[in-house]
C-alpha cells in the first residue's frame, strides 16, 4: 500500500494565519503527507499529530529522496495497523514552528528576506491546530473521523476538540496532559537554557553550518531522561560500563547510560533545529486546555504507568473535566515500564485499544450517514 502514500508534500496557505500572541503570519507553508485514500463521503480522514521532535512522516513510505523511510509511528500507522491506512485517509503535518518543512523560525521572513530566528512569533498548540485546519480546508477535508496524537501531539488532538468540535468525531489523546506541571516546565527550561548558553547560538542567528550543537544535544539528553523511567533505565543500562571493565578515573563517557545519552544528543543535532526546540517547548509550557462546552466528540484518553513526565494523574484530570461535560470518554492506563516513550513502544495493547476505538467511530459514522 506504499503506493497510496503521498510522499512529502507542501502547500502554501492562502491569507494570513492569526496567532494567539496577536501577530499573524502570511503565506504559511505546511509540510504534510497523506496515506491511504479519502472515502467518497470524506468520512475516513484521520489527522495524526506529532510530538516535539516528529515530522509529517508518521507511517513508513517514501521519504524526501523517494527512498523508503520508516515512519515515526511505524508500529501504529500503516496498512493493517491500528491507524489502518487501508481504511483511513491518514494526514500528518509538520507543526507550525517546526523544522521539517513547515514555516518556523528557520524559514525566511518575507519582510526582511532573512531567516526569522527568534523574530519568529511564539506559537501555541492552538496556532498549530489553526494551520492544520487551514491545510485541511485546502485539501477539501471538512470533517475528521479522528484526531490522534501522543504527548505534544495529544495536546493538539485536545486543542482540535476545543477549537473545531463540529469538525471532529473522535479524539485519541495518548500520554498527554491538559497542562504540564512545574516539573515538566522545569525540564523544558533546562533544555532551553542549554541552547541559549551555547556560544554558537548567537541570539538565534547562528550559522546553519555551525549550529549550537552542544546546547541542543544537552537539551535532548535532558529530554531523553524524562522520556524514560527509572525501571527502563535500570533495565537498559544499569551501572554497566561501555567498552571497559574498570573505571577510567577521568571525565570521559564510561557508563552505558552516558554513551547512550551522548549518542542521542549527537543524532538529534543532525536532524533538528535549536530554535524550533525553543519554540516547541514553549508551546507546550503555554498549553492550558479548556474542553469544548458543546458538540463534544468522543474521547479515548490513555496514560502509561511509568510515565512520570505526563503522569496518569494528569490524564485523569482530562477525563474528570470531560465527565463534568458528560462527554463520551474512554480512559485506560496501560502498564508499561517504558516511561513517556511507552506511547511509541507499547503498540500491542495500546494499539488494540486505539484500533477498536477508531473502527467503531468509523462504523458509527457509516450508521449515521445511512440514517441521515
Amino acid at each position: 500500500m506504499a503506493a497510496s502514500a503521498s510522499g512529502p508534500q507542501t502547500l502554501v496557505l492562502e491569507g494570513a494565519v492569526r496567532l494567539a500572541c496577536g501577530r499573524s503570519l502570511e503565506s504559511v507553508e505546511v509540510a504534510y503527507e497523506t496515506f491511504g485514500t479519502l472515502a467518497e463521503d470524506g468520512g475516513n480522514a484521520v489527522l495524526v499529530c506529532h510530538a516535539l521532535s516528529g515530522d509529517a512522516h508518521v507511517a513508513s513510505g517514501p521519504g524526501p529522496a523517494g527512498s523508503e523511510r520508516p515512519g515515526w509511528w511505524e508500529s501504529m500507522a500503516g496498512p493493517g495497523l491500528p491507524i489502518d491506512t487501508d481504511r483511513y485517509f491518514v494526514i500528518c503535518t509538520n507543526v507550525l514552528g517546526g523544522c521539517s518543512g513547515t514555516t518556523g523560525p528557520g524559514s525566511v521572513d518575507p519582510a526582511t528576506a532573512e531567516r526569522y530566528g527568534l523574530r519568529f512569533p511564539l506559537v501555541t498548540i492552538e496556532d498549530m491546530v489553526e494551520v492544520q485546519a487551514g491545510l485541511l480546508d485546502a485539501l477539501g477535508v471538512d470533517r475528521l473521523l479522528a484526531v490522534v496524537g501522543g504527548s505534544m501531539g495529544g495536546m493538539q488532538a485536545l486543542a482540535w476538540a476545543s477549537r473545531y468540535p463540529e469538525r471532529v468525531d473522535a479524539v485519541v489523546a495518548a500520554a498527554t496532559t491538559g497542562r504540564i506541571g512545574a516539573q515538566a516546565i522545569a525540564f523544558n527550561e533546562v533544555g532551553r537554557a542549554a541552547i541559549l548558553a551555547d556560544p554558537a547560538f548567537k541570539g538565534g542567528d547562528y550559522d546553519l553550518d555551525l549550529p549550537p550543537a552542544e546546547g541542543l544535544a544537552i537539551a535532548r539528553m535532558v529530554g531523553h531522561i524524562t522520556y524514560l523511567s527509572q525501571e527502563s533505565m535500570r533495565e537498559k543500562f544499569g551501572r554497566r560500563l561501555r567498552d571497559r571493565d574498570e573505571h577510567a578515573f577521568e571525565f570521559v563517557s564510561e557508563f552505558e547510560v552516558e554513551s547512550y545519552l551522548a549518542y542521542q544528543g549527537r543524532r538529534f543535532v543532525e536532524r533538528f533545529d535549536a530554535n524550533t526546540y525553543l519554540y516547541m517547548t514553549k508551546a507546550m509550557d503555554y498549553f492550558d486546555w479548556q474542553p469544548p462546552k458543546s458538540m463534544l466528540p468522543r474521547f479515548l484518553v490513555t496514560s502509561f504507568t511509568s510515565d512520570w513526565l505526563f503522569p496518569t494523574a494528569q490524564a485523569r484530570e482530562i477525563v474528570r473535566v470531560l465527565l463534568e461535560r458528560n462527554a463520551e470518554v474512554t480512559f485506560a492506563e496501560i502498564a508499561s515500564p517504558y516511561g513517556h516513550d511507552a506511547f511509541l513502544l507499547e503498540t500491542e495493547r495500546h494499539g488494540a485499544l486505539v484500533a477498536g476505538f477508531l473502527a467503531r467511530a468509523l462504523e458509527d459514522r457509516h450508521c449515521r450517514g445511512g440514517a441521515l
Partner: protein, 257 residues
C-alpha cells in the same frame, strides 16, 4: 439466539429492571455486554468502569465509554447525581471497601442495582457445615486459595449491611441459577437462592451514614418482595405503597439516632 439470551442470567434480569432511556453506570462492566444491550435495545445512555484493559478494549470496540479504574478507589471523578441507575453485578464480592463503594454508588446515581452470590445457599452450608469444606458452586466457582473474592455475603447479611450504610432496599429478587437460567425463589430465599439482585437507594433525609456495625442487630429487615411484584413495582413505582418513604418508611425502623 438473540443478544438478550446471550447475556448472563442476572444481567438479563438487571436489564429488565432498567427503565428505557435511563442514564446507566455499570461498575465492573467487563466486556460491556450489559451496557451494549441497554444502549442498543433500551435506548440508555451508558458508561462503564472496568479494571481490566482487555475489558476496556472490548468496550471501546463496541463504542462504549468505559474508564479503567479500580473500584476500591471509589468513583471520585464522577459528578454526583449523574446517573439514574448504577449497576454492580457480581462484583461486590471482589471489592475491598464495599461500604465506601455503596455510598459512592448512591452519590453518583439515584438507584443502585446490585447482584451478588448468596453464600447462605444450602449446598454451601452443607459443604461447609457437614463436610467441613469451603463452598464451590456455579455462582461462587473458585477454590478458596485461588479466588478474587474478598467478601462473602448472604442475603440476610447484605440487608444488614444496607441498613448500616444508610441504604434502603427497594426491591429484592432471589434467584436460583442453573445453566444460565434464573428462576425466582420466593420461599426461604437465604437458604434456597444462590444469587440475589437488590435495588437500593439512599435512605431519605439521612444522607449516607456509616453506622457502627454493632448497631445493626435487633433491627427489622426491609420487606421482602417476590420477583414478579418487584419487577412490576419497578416499572410502575408509585403503585407500591410499601416502598414509599414518606414518614414511616423502612428507614424509620432503624435504631434511634
Amino acid at each position: 439466539m438473540t443478544p438478550a439470551e446471550l447475556l448472563r442470567a442476572d444481567l438479563r434480569l438487571i436489564a429488565d429492571l432498567v427503565p428505557e432511556g435511563s442514564r446507566v453506570l455499570d461498575l465492573g462492566c467487563g466486556d460491556g455486554a450489559l451496557l451494549e444491550h441497554l444502549r442498543d435495545r433500551r435506548g440508555c445512555q451508558v458508561r462503564g468502569i472496568e479494571i481490566s484493559l482487555s475489558g476496556v478494549t472490548a468496550c471501546a470496540r463496541r463504542g462504549l465509554p468505559v474508564l479503567q479504574t479500580d473500584l476500591d478507589e471509589g468513583l471520585r471523578d464522577l459528578p454526583g447525581g449523574s446517573f439514574d441507575i448504577v449497576v454492580l453485578s457480581q462484583t461486590l464480592q471482589e471489592v475491598r471497601n464495599l461500604r465506601l463503594l455503596l455510598a459512592e454508588m448512591v452519590r453518583v446515581g439515584t438507584k443502585a442495582i446490585i447482584s451478588y452470590p448468596n453464600f447462605g445457599h444450602y449446598p454451601s452450608r452443607l459443604r461447609l457445615g457437614l463436610r467441613g469444606r469451603m463452598p464451590v458452586s456455579e455462582t461462587l466457582p473458585y477454590e478458596w486459595y485461588d479466588t478474587p473474592n474478598v467478601h462473602y455475603t448472604t442475603i440476610t447479611d447484605f440487608r444488614a449491611l444496607c441498613r448500616t450504610t444508610g441504604l434502603v432496599i427497594r426491591q429484592e429478587i432471589a434467584l436460583r441459577v442453573r445453566e444460565n437460567r434464573a428462576r425466582p425463589v420466593r420461599f426461604a430465599p437465604n437458604l434456597r437462592a444462590d444469587l440475589a439482585v437488590a435495588v437500593v437507594t439512599r435512605a431519605p433525609d439521612e444522607g449516607i451514614q456509616l453506622l457502627p456495625v454493632n448497631r445493626m442487630y435487633g433491627m427489622r429487615i426491609a420487606p421482602y418482595r417476590t420477583m414478579s411484584a418487584s419487577v412490576r413495582g419497578m416499572r410502575n413505582e408509585g403503585a407500591c405503597p410499601q416502598i414509599r418513604m414518606g414518614g414511616g418508611g423502612v428507614d424509620r425502623r432503624r435504631a434511634p439516632r
